[in-house]
Symmetry: C2
Subunit: 242 residues, 2 copies
């Protein structure tokens, strides 16, 4: 079965966490909104599905994944689904809940990253909320960012199976997501990351370990990987990287 991933075609955004899992799994998938309209795909196909009154389980927003007739939304929920199907999550229930818990904490962190440039409303431009963004980014870089990084460093340090992965002794989807967080933070806040990184050696090693995976390495070099840009969640505004 070929999965259909639906997400905004110009950005990594939340869709990237799904792409990384699909790529690491070597799963057969099509990134629908990035494909040509003439083939019945593209944004038109995504909007058609989102607005269809025939969908009994509608998503609130992208990303969503179509697996046969099933439509699954919410990034962490999609990863919960993919994780157990593709060996990207522990086999036991307690392990699966732990990985999911970490993923939800990453989701919280990601939203705080987003809100550094959009503290008032996602519907307004960054330029319409710059003074507020400056205050929020100040708080984020000074206090929240080290708090989150410190937490995940602790999780690695305390993993009873060793410091290589966040949960258990093998890669899970949350390791892929943490790689993406580190990569995104480096793009958005290069000065702060330069200042902070040496405090979190296990996280940086995890980032490197994921980047070196055969399939991830190939993916990152491919055209399927959209470059970071200032339309996504991770944005580089010099004035916010205090």
């Amino acid at each position: 079965m070929r999965y259909e991933l639906y997400y905004w075609p110009e950005i990594q955004g939340r869709g990237e966490f799904i792409r990384l899992a699909l790529e690491e799994a070597g799963a057969d998938y099509v990134d629908v909104a990035r494909r040509a309209e003439r083939n019945g795909m593209g944004m038109t196909a995504m909007m058609r599905l989102m607005e269809s009154q025939a969908v009994s389980c509608p998503p609130f927003a992208p990303p969503f994944l179509k697996a046969g007739e099933q439509i699954i939304a919410q990034t962490a929920n999609i990863l919960l689904f993919l994780g157990s199907r593709h060996g990207l999550a522990p086999d036991d229930e307690a392990g699966r809940l732990w990985v999911h818990q970490l993923q939800l904490t990453i989701a919280d962190m990601l939203l705080e990253v987003h809100d550094t440039h959009h503290p008032i409303a996602a519907s307004l431009y960054y330029d319409e909320q710059k003074p507020e963004a400056l205050r929020r980014a100040e708080e984020f870089t000074a206090s929240r960012l080290p708090k989150f990084l410190g937490y995940f460093e602790t999780v690695l340090a305390r993993n009873p199976s060793g410091e290589s992965w966040l949960a258990g002794d093998t890669l899970t989807y949350v390791d892929l997501s943490m790689f993406q967080m580190i990569a995104g933070l480096r793009f958005a806040f290069p000065r702060n990351m330069k200042r902070l990184e040496s405090d979190y050696p296990l996280l940086i090693a995890l980032h490197d370990r994921v980047a070196a995976r055969t399939r991830i390495k190939a993916y990152l070099k491919s055209k399927r990987r959209i470059p970071f840009n200032n339309e996504g969640i991770f944005r580089h505004y010099k004035e916010l990287d205090l």
Copy 2:
């Protein structure tokens, strides 16, 4: 087995979504931080557990639930755990993912409610971010609130099993959470809810249906239900209820 719930003792907050599930299930639980210090509980017990270096799966923040030796955090994750154990979630995987997806969308909505009074930082007082709060609340009440309510109204209307519950033909944990959202929105934004409610008759009926459940009714009248107050997530500031 007696569950131990850990959450800030003075507010409903995120803990309330767990309390409602435990109450509806008739589960045996103790609300640790609300119990007396002299019995080894209270805030001291909660902080001790949060700071213990012996915990290999530490929570980032409350609420968290102790079930035997297992510690589970993140509200939606705790509900995922409780749902399958207490008949508060569908039996099939697709149904469980759908309920969880709705719960995660409620979590997103709840955070937007929180950010109406704390758009800059949770660590600052409301008084320190009032102009920003006013702008954010304006956006929320004008645009985001009706968008979220409209979404959930549609979910009820499209439920193939009928309009009584959000998923399937029986109550699940997400119905309890939606009750809490409506109750909280009425406390925080009474003017806006008065203006909006007639557009969402299915949601209001769902709220009333949950409130009338035998165990929920008893719980709401009990001292275990902390009243809404301006220390929680749902806060009533007249100036934000535009």
